[in-house]
Every structure is written in structure tokens, then in C-alpha cells.
Subunit: 125 residues, 2 copies
DNA sequence: GATTCATATTCCTTGGAAGGAATGTTACCG
DNA sequence: CGGTAACATTCCTTCCAAGGAATATGAATC
């Protein structure tokens, strides 16, 4: 992944919001939809864009697709630096903070449901 | 300048090369041309793009246009963080290092000429 | 096996960015 | 004041990205 490709991934607001959520951990598409409140096709296409460039990886978990950032060892210096920078930059931004708050509420509602279902998974409820 | 606008400025290789040079200090258009070896119109348009978004400022110096990053106080947290990140990211990149080397050679050739002309300016010779 | 849920893909339109050729503008210089 | 040097802008074409509607795929469930 070239440096300019990293920036291309970062130059759309929806993608920034997606990555902001992924900095908290893996997430399935339906949760992106709930938190971002954007149409399914929009979310899905941006995830496809990021995946095609190696910025995220996706794995199927039964009926759901879980997306995550590449794991630590697979992250280039440039990617690590830019993800850290992104996290610092969004820290005081209202939109991104609201997204994180919604994500936290979702996790709270989600985890018990997962326990009930006996999956132990926070996703997908 | 919104965060996403910063990334939009960064998502083109020519603009990255321009900003890499500007991290060393102000520069005139003709020097961008010499270092980057790209056509005048290309340089000029990318500088216009950056200027329109507040990423650089331009000032006329006689016959020349000098471009520079906004000065310290005018830089937002996001901009400071991303410029630092950019500088770190390009530090080991061959293309960007070559540009800096060319810039250094240009300054060496340029400064004496400026002295001879009695301007004391490194730009434009 | 038909249905349903979650997600992806296709097809379309629209807009914006990139690049080059040509031309315009501004300042300096004789 | 005509010319020239340094940049900017316009006009054009090409390409890619974004978004939505509709449709397809793949897994689970009955």
C-alpha cells in the first residue's frame, strides 16, 4: 500500500467514520449501518473500496461479514502512523465522538443479547 | 479546514511531493518545476488546488510567486499532526528523498547567485 | 427446496479531479 | 511602450469516484 493510497482511503468522510469505528475493534456491516445511519449500499461500497486497497480485511461469520483493520504485524509504518494520527485528529470532533458514543451504546445492548444467544459474540445481535 | 479536506489535499502524489518540499521552507514555482520535473501547468494547478483549500499560501515577490505552508499559529491541530505524520512517512521514501536532494543542490547553486545579484534571496535565481 | 436475512454487485447518472494545449495576466526590463 | 519571463486560467477530454435503484449472492432456517 503506497502512501498516496492510504490518503485516498482517508479522503472521504464516510470512510473516515468507518475507520474511526474500526479503531475500536472489528465490526459487522449491520452495526456500521446502525451507527452511521447510512444506506446499506453506501456502507458496503466504501467497505469494498477499503478492502480492495488493503486498508481493511473482511471475514464471513455465518450470515455476517466482519470487517477489521489489518492486524498489528501486517500494518506498514505509514499505516500505523496515519491511523494514530487519525485517532488523534478525531478525538475532539463532534461527529466522530457521536459515532463512538452510538457504538458504545450498541455494544451495551448487544453483548447481553449475544450471551443470551449463547454465542459469546458481540456481533451480531 | 475540515479533516477530510486535509486528506483530499494529500491524496495526490504530486501534491505530496509539493508539500514535502514545503516542509523544508517556502519555495517559488520555478523551483518546484526544477525539482519535480513536471510541466508548469501541472505544478501551478496543484498549487492552486492547495491554495484554494488553505493548505498553502502564496505571495508575489516581484516576478515570482512564493508558496509556503501556513505559519505556525495558523495551523490547526489536525494540520500540524498530519504534516508531522507526512514528514515521518516520507522520511525513508526514495522518491521524496530524491526530491529533497535535488532541492538541496538547488539551494547550493542558488544562494551564491542571489548574493551576486545583491538580493540576499535564495529565490529566484 | 423455498424463504429470508445480510451483504455484495451491477447499472446508471452525476460530479469532480487530472492533465495538456493554448491563451491570459502581471511584473520587470530595456 | 514593446518585449519577455513567470505564473495563472480557460477550454477541452478522460477518468474515477460517489450515490442510488435494482438485482444478485450466500448462508441460515423452516
Amino acid at each position: 500500500m503506497k502512501l498516496v493510497e492510504i490518503y485516498q482511503c482517508l479522503c472521504d468522510e464516510t470512510r473516515l467514520r468507518i475507520l474511526n469505528l474500526l479503531l475500536q475493534g472489528p465490526l459487522c456491516v449491520c452495526h456500521f449501518q446502525e451507527v452511521l445511519r447510512e444506506p446499506q449500499v453506501k456502507i458496503s461500497k466504501h467497505l469494498g473500496y477499503l478492502k480492495a486497497r488493503g486498508m481493511v480485511k473482511g471475514s464471513r461469520e455465518g450470515n455476517w461479514m466482519i470487517y477489521a483493520l489489518p492486524n498489528g504485524r501486517a500494518r506498514s509504518r505509514e499505516l500505523v502512523a496515519n491511523l494514530a494520527c487519525l485517532q488523534e485528529c478525531v478525538a475532539e470532533n463532534a461527529l466522530f465522538k457521536r459515532d463512538l458514543a452510538r457504538l458504545a451504546r450498541l455494544d451495551l445492548a448487544c453483548a447481553p443479547a449475544a450471551v443470551v444467544r449463547g454465542t459469546g459474540k458481540a456481533c451480531c445481535c
